[in-house]
């Protein structure tokens, strides 16, 4: 009897997860809720940023590089959402992996001039996060746990993704002490 109920519970969990996944936009997958690695970086203007200070908000953490083909296609769509979610409960954090200021400046100047990325100058923050490849986007909940991962580049300015981002922005289910 115990075995049967165990199997049923497992099945329910799996079905629940499948249902949750099917409601997500294409390429967004649920993660196990591991704690996101903390970091401190400077943006391209030299302003300091501490990831710990984002606790209490959902955070879109995006890793990219200028040499990565899909990044070229994706970055203008990220520029669109940067403006949309400015000063909201969804923080957009964009991290360049191991490139020089000149390379980043030129790339963004052409494709997304309003983006002010954080500079992971030696690439060690990216390695700590161990993305599956570049580009990579994680969604960290207000408690600092990784809840979703986007596979490859996504058209973030499309309605289906905006709806998903808005649902995070409007999420009131977390009460976290900063």
């Amino acid at each position: 009897m115990k075995i049967l109920s165990g199997v049923l519970i497992s099945l329910l969990i799996l079905m629940n997860q499948a249902l949750a996944n099917s409601n997500l936009p294409k390429g967004i997958i649920i993660q196990d809720g591991r704690t996101a690695a903390s970091f401190k970086l400077q943006d391209i203007d030299g302003e300091a940023y501490d990831f710990a200070e984002s606790k209490g908000k959902w955070v879109f953490v995006h890793f990219w590089a200028t040499w990565c083909g899909p990044c070229r296609k994706e970055i203008p769509t990220i520029q669109d959402i940067v403006k949309k979610f400015e000063n909201s409960n969804l923080e957009i954090v964009i991290i360049n992996t191991a490139e020089s200021e000149d390379a980043v400046f030129n790339f963004l100047g052409l494709l997304a001039p309003d983006i002010n990325p954080l500079m992971d100058t030696d690439g060690l923050v990216t390695e700590k996060w161990q993305p599956r490849g570049l580009p990579a986007t994680y969604f960290v909940d207000p408690a600092g746990k990784i809840r979703y991962l986007a596979l490859g580049g996504r058209p973030w300015n499309k309605d289906v993704y905006l709806e998903f981002l808005n649902s995070l922005k409007n999420d009131k289910s977390y009460k976290v002490k900063k």
Binding site: W67, R132, G152
Partner: protein, 187 residues
């Protein structure tokens, strides 16, 4: 002013490099596709590889080491409804029955230690390599380079892909023949 001129120059260079890369991608590719997987092989010449890393400010010593090797750039898309595993230790490179040994991350770390390559460049280089082992979700794709010693003759690559969430499924095998290390003077 000097800084802006430098930036404008780098900008033109990177545009040229992108155009060059796009041109290469349309001219030099081998494609395999079926219901489970899409595969594309791209061969770049040493000069093209050198330009890529030089454009990322790699030192001459690093570029010299890089251009001495051959790179098989592979793009893979999982077209199946199951997990497909990239596990490059299971990919066999050979030429007339002679095994060609891949130059893995340990090999390159040793090379970089010899010339004290800075961490940022090690990181960039690693990100341009094919992941050593990774699952691919249905419809997910991945791309990256596999370095091998320079070859003067065509060779064969047998790509074995475990399948299933825990690699419990059948092995999917694709054989790519007549792969070459493209040289600059063969253009």
């Amino acid at each position: 002013m000097k800084k802006y001129l430098r930036r404008a120059f780098i900008c033109c260079l990177s545009l040229f490099a992108t155009a060059l890369q796009a041109d290469v991608q349309t001219q030099e590719k081998m494609i395999y596709t079926d219901d489970d997987v899409y595969l594309r092989f791209i061969q770049l010449t040493p000069q093209q590889i050198g330009s890529f890393y030089e454009g990322r400010e790699f030192t001459k010593a690093a570029v010299d080491k890089l251009t001495a090797s051959c790179y098989v750039t592979v793009i893979i898309k999982n077209r199946s409804n199951d997990f497909l595993w990239v596990d490059i230790a299971k990919w066999e490179f050979s030429q007339n029955g002679r095994k060609i040994i891949q130059q893995d991350r340990a090999y390159w770390n040793k090379q970089w230690d010899e010339i004290n390559l800075k961490q940022a460049h090690r990181s960039t280089f690693n990100w341009t390599l094919m992941p050593a082992e990774r699952n691919l979700y249905p419809q997910e794709d991945v791309g990256g380079r596999i370095p091998i010693p320079m070859q003067s003759k065509p060779f064969t690559v047998v790509l074995n892909f475990p399948t299933g969430e825990n690699k419990q499924g059948k092995i999917k095998t694709v054989k790519m023949q007549n792969v070459i290390c493209k040289l600059d003077d063969s253009k």
